[in-house]
Symmetry: C2
Subunit: 315 residues, 2 copies
């Protein structure tokens, strides 16, 4: 009989849960609220309860379940220790030991951006690839590097922090992290709005994104798709910056494919086109041709990746 | 009884050979000339002969030998195919199948820069680490990324091509590869001479490196160590460029240590100091502290890494 496993994606508001077969088929998914009160002390118990109650519901015993994979918003070290996860209220503790004690099951945990990368690599935009670089374009820019089916989590949990690559060393404005000239300042939704505001301030040129109060990245993309010249210059800059960073990533890990996800990737193929038209410029020639794909899973990448993380930890 | 293995490092002039125990102890090393005539057609036979004659000499049979690891100057794909290796005269063929047919032994092959990285990681400057980025500063800039004991060779054999990271997108002069603004143009021995010539042309400032006919990187480093202000500015620029590239590498793979080798690394700790003083600037704060080490093996890194490559292929 095929065994079961759980993929859990912890967010600051809700925790997404998936019940999978060992072949990676998603049987059922559901959500529970993430109780961040009291420094998130109840979160592990809540997850254990939902897992154990699902097992009771389907009549599964511990020997029928391979374990629980978890993605969470913070660095996770090789021994299962969470560095800190402010969005959950958590300080430093060993989440793997805690969850194992609560459930008696095998547990594997990793950073949520890396886990999402693994999900997209395994069953989404990167399906069938041996290596992939996953980029999430949201409020920030996150990423995950997958080589031979494994996430490069890094010596201190900072593998795939591509949003913090320095691409404009002379930038005077600060990244959210305190650094300067980071990719996130140009290629996130926030970054696109920032670039658009600069364009708007630089001239009186008419544009459909001029005059609104709370400009959003979505408005910029819509205007660009409508052919608005100012918005087109903004998304061209976005594409140039992201392509530059991806080119340097290629020179380091030479992935089979780049997968672009996150909220802003809803702009779709038009967004990919802005990146692809700049990608390869100045690069070492064998690296000038790379595959690009949009992420396919949206919010489900995390539970798929958590499931894959568990499977990998059992190899 | 401990078994034997061979580590072979193919260069355009000589082929370095090492006989190892399976624990990685180097028992003996020797060289044979690399016969690049006739498109290097005799190279595989020559290597097979030296391996088989060494086995006869020590009374070892095929069952006493784990196999042959090889590093060579060209891309090597997962199936053992060499893309091309112009320095050996080779076009595309399967070196692993060829060598296995000639010797009856298990064979593993990889790119020489990656193999050298593996050697330094395993038994040299990176000994005891779980991950490392190896940078060779020679005529060009090469590199190798080692994660969890394995080289990141890349989808098309271009993993660790850090010399071709674009760090000055507006550079007008060309890299040897035809690209522009590559790290190699600033941080190789050739690059340091180029930076020095620019400094010399920019003013009439006195300097001990002024006036010679064939300026070398070694002269620049010696002058800088002597306190020559112009040479100091050159090596400071070198350090700033290399530190910038290494910072972005850290944001991608977050290695435990950077190992600096290649001919120019003979400038020693003084060279490391030029890099370390700039490293971390503008970076995401957890990545601002990284270990740096000089390579320890010099020319022997290749045979050690080839031996490790063979051992890894048997896991």
């Amino acid at each position: 009989m095929s065994k079961y496993l759980f993929g859990i994606d912890l967010g600051g508001t809700t925790t997404k849960c998936g019940l999978f077969t060992e072949n990676g088929e998603l049987l059922e998914k559901w959500e529970i609220p993430t109780e961040t009160a009291d420094k998130g002390v109840n979160i592990p118990t809540d997850i254990a309860e939902t897992v154990l109650s699902k097992m009771a519901q389907i009549g599964a015993h511990n020997e029928d379940v391979l374990g629980i994979g978890m993605g969470l918003p913070g660095p996770v070290y090789a021994d299962g220790t969470v560095g800190s996860a402010p969005n959950l209220g958590w300080g430093r503790f060993n989440i793997v030991e805690t969850m194992t004690a609560l459930t008696g099951l095998h547990v594997a945990a990793g950073n949520d951006a890396n886990t999402a990368a693994l999900g997209e690599f395994w069953k989404g935009g990167g399906k069938g690839s041996k290596s992939a670089v996953f980029v999430t374009l949201g409020t920030g820019v996150g990423g995950g590097i997958v080589i031979d089916g494994k996430v490069v989590s890094g010596a201190i949990g900072c593998g795939g922090e591509i949003g913090h690559m320095v691409i404009e060393p002379d930038e005077t404005e600060s990244c959210g992290c305190g650094g300067h000239g980071h990719l996130e300042q140009y290629a996130s939704a926030t970054g696109v709005v920032r670039l658009a505001k600069k364009e708007l301030e630089a001239s009186d040129e008419e544009s459909e994104i001029r005059g609104g109060e709370n400009l959003t990245a979505k408005q910029v993309w819509t205007a660009a798709k409508n052919g608005d010249p100012l918005a087109l210059r903004v998304v061209d800059s976005f594409g140039r910056y992201l392509a530059y960073a991806l080119g340097n990533i290629a020179s380091i890990v030479d992935p089979e494919i780049f997968i672009i996800g996150g909220g802003m990737s809803n702009a779709g193929e038009f967004l990919l086109d802005q990146v692809k038209k700049h990608y390869g410029k100045n690069l070492f020639f064998p690296l000038r041709e790379k595959k690009f794909a949009l992420a396919e899973f949206g919010n489900d990448a995390g539970i798929f990746g958590a499931a894959k993380l568990l499977l990998t930890s059992l190899e």
